[in-house]
């Protein structure tokens, strides 16, 4: 991959000088490897950084953070694809475009290579490591293509991959993580130094893949369009923009086309529909004002701030500030759009929303530091400073770097160290694993038992031999999916067990059958305590 012309030629001259002094001592093969490393310093840095990010994110990946219901849902939908049962484990209702879990399904061979433990979702998280690895590498390339120095690009990757918030969120099987890879790739291609039409077409394809992985990425599209504008030459811009827009548009169009071919584009009685789902998602009850204490959105924000205040505050400030720097503007705009959309007063703000903003936060932070350094090193700046200081200020690059390094380590490292240590050592999912193990041991006739669970548990029990869909039932579907309700003619009496977890107890949709089943049951086992408790309830008929 070519990064930028000017910098690589400088590296070439340097390596020429080095090879002259070293070649005498090194033998053929070592010399070749050393030569390659000198010729590709960026590749070397990327490899090191990616290994570091993967190591920090990979340790204890199964046990922290708590398994979320959404991860289970996506995994279950990927399971459906893998087993040729269509796009979802229940009927597909256009909740999200399916590309995200198609990618999860494509990566599902990965967890099987490792120890297949008691909890499917926990162990499936391994698939997020290659995703993080690719996105980290892409963040580096994006930084370089924005004209940053190597150290600044490395800083960008460190912020992107090692912030405790990233370590927590990027581990989870969220569609947003897949969408981010594609979106960062789109920016990388849009800003290709060769300004090749093919790269801009590929950027359009990546943008479409990002949006089909997680539809909310659509809001970033204007910023990406700006990047293509900036990344193309005046002479060929018309064609670049057409290539970008038509590719993106035509690939995305496959999704409504799919709905149309299935007769599910328009809302109507008796079937799911794309338009119906869109109007549901847009009309979803907002989480209240994000800045108002006690609102749901504020709780989400608070949770992000607890994980990493540095990234949240510095990132938000950086995306606005970076609008001043010409080369950073498109990326900054992407961040600004996400911040503005996230803080709109009445919108629904899912916990994983922040994942989409993290790369733009990281790149803008690194970009501003890079720009700051550049300005500081200008002769003009020194002259200007001399007006206030009587003595000379002959700082060199290394002095500034050392000073900022000390400041960064002193201020940020303790916060991140604590956060990452929690991520790498805490056990948040023990109760899930124990509950799953208990069921395996104590429920004998699994093929004919009907058990209501949340989606985090669903893939596990499907794996244990319960009948997927109608034997092990995702609790939402008991009351909301006619195809499931039809199989429960006697209502709660047709249910044998309920595995009660936090999501089910919150009962957000007022599910009467599930509630009745829980009321008419006895607790046979309990794992964990307080809010995170899991009760296994046996229905008494």
């Amino acid at each position: 991959m070519r990064l930028s012309g000017g910098l690589s030629s400088r590296g070439g001259r340097l390596s020429g000088r080095l090879s002259g002094t070293l070649s005498g001592r090194l033998s053929g093969r070592t010399e070749r490897i050393a030569g390659w490393c000198r010729a590709h310093p960026d590749a070397l840095i990327i490899t090191g950084l990616v290994l570091l990010v993967v190591a920090v994110q990979g340790v204890n990946i199964a046990n922290f953070p708590t398994v979320s219901d959404d991860e289970g849902t996506y995994l279950a939908q990927a399971w459906a694809i893998q087993h040729g049962k269509g796009l979802a484990h229940y009927s597909y209702w256009y909740d999200h475009p399916p590309l995200g879990w198609i990618q999860i399904a494509a990566l599902s061979w990965l967890p099987e290579m490792f120890d297949h433990g008691s909890m499917v979702v926990m162990h499936a998280r391994v698939i997020m490591l290659p995703v993080s690895a690719i996105s980290s590498a892409l963040v580096y390339v994006l930084c370089r293509r924005l004209g940053m120095a190597r150290w600044a690009a490395a800083l960008g990757v460190v912020v992107y991959g090692l912030s405790p918030l990233s370590v927590t969120m990027q581990r989870e099987i969220y569609l947003d993580n897949f969408a981010v890879v594609w979106m960062v790739a789109a920016f990388v291609l849009a800003l290709s130094p060769r300004r090749h039409l093919w790269h801009h077409v590929a950027a359009g394809f990546c943008a479409a893949a990002a949006i089909l992985s997680k539809e909310t990425m659509l809001v970033v599209a204007p910023a990406l369009l700006w990047a293509v504008w900036q990344g193309s030459d005046k002479a060929t811009r018309k064609f670049s923009l057409t290539g970008f827009l038509s590719t993106a548009g035509l690939v995305i169009a496959q999704y409504p086309l799919y709905a149309l071919l299935k007769g599910e584009l328009f809302a109507g009685a008796g079937h799911n529909s794309l338009f119906g789902a869109i109007s549901y998602q847009l009309g979803r009850k907002g989480g209240g004002n994000i800045f108002q204490k006690g609102s749901v959105s504020n709780l989400t924000l608070h949770w992000w701030l607890v994980r990493d205040p540095v990234l949240m505050y510095a990132g938000t400030a950086a995306v606005f500030a970076a609008l001043v720097v010409r080369r950073l503007r498109p990326v900054a705009l992407a961040g600004v759009i996400l911040v503005v959309v996230g803080s709109r007063p009445s919108g629904y703000l899912p916990a994983m929303y922040v994942i989409q903003a993290i790369p733009f936060f990281a790149v803008c932070i690194a970009g501003l530091v890079d720009e700051g350094m550049r300005v500081l090193m200008l002769e003009r700046t020194r002259e200007w400073l001399r007006r206030f200081w009587r003595w000379e200020v002959p700082w060199r690059r290394i002095d500034v770097a050392a000073l900022s390094g000390v400041v960064a380590v002193g201020l940020i490292a303790p916060v991140w160290q604590t956060g990452d240590a929690t991520a790498d050592t805490a056990f948040a999912n023990d109760q899930y694993a124990q509950a799953s193990a208990w069921i395996r041991e104590h429920v004998p006739d699994r093929a004919h038992t009907r058990i209501v669970v949340d989606d985090a548990m669903w893939p596990d029990l499907a794996d244990q031999g319960f009948q997927p869909g109608l034997g092990v039932i995702w609790f939402y579907k008991v009351d909301l999916d006619p195809a499931v309700t039809r199989t429960l003619p006697r209502g709660w009496r047709d249910i044998d067990y309920v595995v009660s977890t936090t999501v089910i107890r919150q009962d957000p949709n007022g599910l009467p059958t599930v509630r009745q089943a829980m009321e008419h049951s006895a607790t046979v086992a309990t794992f964990g305590s307080a809010d995170q408790r899991i009760d296994i309830l046996k229905v008494e008929k």
Partner: protein, 418 residues
């Protein structure tokens, strides 16, 4: 079984459409590619001498204007050879008048063949050429006065054997099909030919083409039996490894007009298609050195036939996918060829915009609508011409259906100037 067929067919169609689109956009790949498609600025030297051949047949209305323009050339060392038929006194009269007016520049060569065609006319004049380079123009061409100086420079600076200049149909306003026809030329000379030049396989154009006289004589000139003698010459020279340079400057292009009616367009297209078929059957392209070049040659010579039916076949594919109850996945794949085809339409619209900009011609919303709506109809004409070509070749009919020229592009020129 049925589904497998649809899937395989759709993938092939997708590939054909995507490749064609990609090649169509060759010149705009990078700003550097676009810059390299232009003539380099000449150094002012006139190092080579030119013999310009102008075959004219029943073209007394436009010939005088064309040759007069040629005589305005800034180059110092060239001659014009007008080739007229022995049975065409009107054109011959105009030609002789021109020769009298500029005796040191213009000569008239009379073609005595019973059955006349363009390659015969050109071969007739080849022995009379005194220049080091032979250039071909049609009787209705509008040639820029500085073209020769640029071509001269291109020959010397690139050490070229052949230089192909741009040709552009210009009367886009005349009718719905002329708009598409103009745009076809635009994409071909502006972009696609440069790809062929860089890959070392090029079907040359019929005019504004310049070849070293020695090379031409060594190859016995043009193939008199071939209906696409220009394409054939390009293929033969390519397979010998001749260096071909293509240059396109909107200022420097030779301006032409579209055929006067749909029937004339179809006849012209039939001739070209049949010519392509003949070149394909002559198998000179098999001597191209690399496999990729041979593949490109085979594909390019067969393109009219692919293209002609792709539109119809794709529509058929949609219909089958919708009517026959195939799985949704298969139906989606059946729609796959529509992606590059839709993109092609969009790029054509962008091309039209660029065409208007470069030639300073008013392109309005009406023209874009014409372009899009006319697309399928134009496709039908092409399909019919392809069928006719195959039929004629199969029946062994190889006579020359000439396109008549009325000078519509001259009016556009006048409008643009005014």
């Amino acid at each position: 079984m049925f589904s497998t067929f649809i899937v395989a067919f759709s993938f092939v169609q997708f590939g054909v459409a995507a490749f064609t689109l990609w090649w169509m956009l060759h010149a705009w790949r990078t700003p550097e590619t676009l810059a390299s498609t232009r003539f380099t600025v000449p150094d002012g030297d006139c190092g080579l001498s030119f013999s310009l051949l102008v075959p004219a047949r029943h073209e007394q209305e436009v010939l005088d204007h064309t040759v007069s323009r040629l005589l305005e050339s800034t180059h110092t060392d060239y001659e014009v050879l007008v080739i007229v038929g022995h049975d065409d006194p009107d054109t011959a009269a105009v030609a002789h008048a021109l020769a009298e007016r500029a005796p040191d520049r213009v000569r008239v060569v009379t073609d005595h063949h019973e059955k006349k065609n363009k390659p015969k006319a050109l071969n007739n004049a080849l022995p009379h050429c005194r220049g080091e380079v032979v250039g071909v123009f049609d009787a209705e061409d509008q040639v820029h006065p500085e073209l020769l100086a640029h071509v001269d420079h291109a020959f010397r600076s690139c050490d070229a054997d052949v230089v192909q200049g741009g040709v552009q149909l210009i009367n886009y306003h005349s009718s719905w099909y002329s708009l598409r026809n103009c745009l076809e030329y635009f994409f071909w000379f502006r972009s696609r030919l440069h790809l062929h030049a860089s890959k070392g396989f090029i079907p040359l154009g019929g005019n504004t083409v310049f070849v070293k006289t020695d090379l031409l004589r060594a190859n016995d000139g043009w193939d008199q039996e071939c209906l696409a003698e220009d394409c054939d010459l390009g293929v033969r020279l390519s397979s010998q490894g001749a260096k071909v340079v293509v240059a396109y400057d909107s200022e420097m292009v030779t301006r032409e007009e579209t055929p006067g009616s749909v029937v004339a367009l179809m006849k012209q297209r039939t001739r070209w298609n049949q010519g392509f078929l003949q070149v394909l059957r002559k198998k000179d392209w098999r001597r191209l050195p690399s496999r990729r070049q041979r593949l490109l040659a085979r594909y390019t010579l067969m393109t009219p036939f692919f293209q002609a039916f792709s539109g119809i076949l794709v529509l058929l594919g949609f219909a089958v996918a919708l009517i026959a109850h195939v799985p949704v996945g298969v139906a989606l794949i059946a729609f796959l060829p529509a992606l590059p085809m839709t993109a092609t339409f969009l790029f054509e619209a962008v091309g039209l915009h660029d065409f208007g900009r470069q030639y300073e011609l008013p392109v309005t919303f009406r023209h874009y609508v014409k372009l899009i709506v006319g697309g399928p109809l134009y496709q039908l004409i092409l399909a019919w011409a392809a069928l006719r070509a195959v039929w004629r070749e199969f029946r062994g009919r190889k006579d020359w259906e000439l396109t008549k020229h009325v000078g519509a592009h001259l009016a556009v020129e006048a409008e643009a100037v005014a």
